[in-house]
């Protein structure tokens, strides 16, 4: 086994601890971003749905402003966002380099992306069901939590998988500017030092993470979906 490693993966075999650390860094960046960005994105997504014309608390101005902001942030290429946002990052976490610092731009990028996904998932909830809830005397909060989020849950889970997968690719990008993680390993070590085996193993680990997320997400979506 070890001879196989040294023969085909000469560089990787020397840096197993680095791989472990990089994987943990990627998981850490993804996890924290998913948590913060997920909650904020969900809130923005819900706000978009309920303030839209015909929504339960229709407000054209609010919707238009929020909608434009979401579009604006979604339009900024992530690599540029990383640079633009660094002063803000420094204010929040005290530094603009490192894994924790990478989380700030990741969150900023994930919120609008996830908000749109959530919005689409919730717009798929049959308006008739919302109307029925209204007719039964439900308050707006009750409609959001007991109807929209419950009925939209399977689709929200599927959107979350899509978001998590894009998030992992964003962490790879963030890694190259000092965020660490598997992306950093693949590009800074593997690519720039011509250690090809490092790049490939990093890629395999990233794909493995995505694969696991996909499987868990599919199972959860299937488990919560009673529509068919």
């Amino acid at each position: 086994m070890s001879s196989f490693l040294t023969q085909y993966l000469p560089n990787v075999s020397q840096m197993v601890p680095d791989f472990i650390q990089a994987t943990l860094e990627t998981i850490y960046m993804t996890g924290i971003t998913a948590l913060i960005g997920g909650i904020l994105g969900l809130i923005v997504g819900v706000l978009l749905v309920i303030t839209e014309s015909g929504g339960i608390v229709e407000s054209k101005t609010f919707y238009n402003v929020l909608d434009k902001i979401v579009n604006l942030f979604r339009s900024i290429p992530f690599i540029i966002l990383l640079a633009v946002i660094s002063p803000f990052t420094r204010i929040i976490v005290g530094t603009s380099i490192g894994t924790t610092a990478a989380i700030v731009p990741l969150v900023v990028a994930v919120i609008p992306f996830y908000a749109r996904q959530v919005q689409n998932a919730l717009l798929d909830v049959d308006y008739g069901i919302i109307e029925a809830a209204k007719a039964m005397g439900s308050s707006n909060l009750s409609i959001i939590f007991r109807v929209y989020l419950k009925e939209g849950l399977p689709k929200i889970i599927r959107s979350s998988v899509v978001t998590l997968i894009s998030l992992i690719s964003l962490t790879a990008m963030a890694g190259t500017v000092g965020g660490g993680g598997l992306g950093n390993l693949a590009v800074i070590v593997g690519y720039q030092r011509f250690e090809n085996d490092v790049t490939i193993v990093s890629l395999i680990l990233i794909l493995l993470l995505i694969f696991i997320i996909q499987i868990i997400g599919d199972l959860l979506a299937k488990w919560t979906d009673h529509e068919n």
């Binding site: 049959d126 109307e131 029925a132 209204k134 039964m136 005397g137 007991r146 009925e151 849950l153 009673h226």
Partner: protein, 346 residues
Amino acid sequence: MAQIDLKNISVTFKQKNKISKAVQNVSLSIDKGDTYGIVGYSGAGKSTLVRVINRLQEPTKGEVFIDNQDILKFNSSKLRNLRHSIGIIFQHFNLMNSKTIKENILYPMLGDNKSHEEREKRIQHLIELVDLQGKENSYPAQLSGGQKQRVAIARALANNPEILISDEATSALDPKTTKDILTLLKRINQDLGVTIVLITHEMDVVKTVCNKVAVMDSGRLVEKGDILSIFSAPKHPMTKEFINTTNNFKEATETLKQQDYFLDVAKNNQLFHLKYVGYSTEQPIIINLYQKFGVISNIIYGNIEFIQDIPLGNLIIEIDANQDVIKEIKQYLLNKKIALTDIKLE
């Protein structure tokens, strides 16, 4: 005083410079215990009008009184309370797909101060009422259309409402299921005393369950009244059109048009539409005409239906007599409250 009193209701929608008047100046009084049918083609404004009752639709103009209370003055918490006492069922059921049948029926009860046991008991009672025992833990997707509508009915009744609105509740169902659901609605009206406001585009549905009916056309209410008088003496062309859908009278005359013999009879003014309501016809008309006037009459087509247990007859008859005698016959029948009108086939 009526239980539901809609006064001069107008609803106008504005969409990008286009103004559509969905409901125009409609007044309607619905008494406690009524099963009030509102009939019209799609787009006539029935749903919009009825949604004003629980303010799912805010009227542009007009007043809404429920049990003498001006509900347009209600704040949001009072409005939510009102909505608890008005059940509603829809064409597409609108059940929550992520909840089981039991959870769907429980939903409107959430937030009241009943104990868990009381709610459970209520759910069980409702499930028995709508005859869905054994389906408690199924999901809506596992049920047929008729069963879904039963769940919707149970859900609508969860808070013991005084009013039940049925918005095209049978329009997506097959004829047999429609009949079952209508029977259930009728039972709810009779046994529980729930006032039912029923929107439909099918006059047959109205005939089966309603005691009163209003006909709507392009946002206006064109005719209203108790069902027997509407069916026996419709005035507005739209009402007549709807009533004709419940019998084959129109088709019968179309068939007669194909035959030269009847064209001749009609040309000689000897073809008639005889219409009667109730048992005013205890004496056999045909024989009476023979005995009194010596004329032979022949029934060519007959449709007798029961509206709220009262027979309503529409016959096409041929009377072989000259016009003077026919004049006398008409007068004679009129005294017996039987209408005889000429049928022209061309």
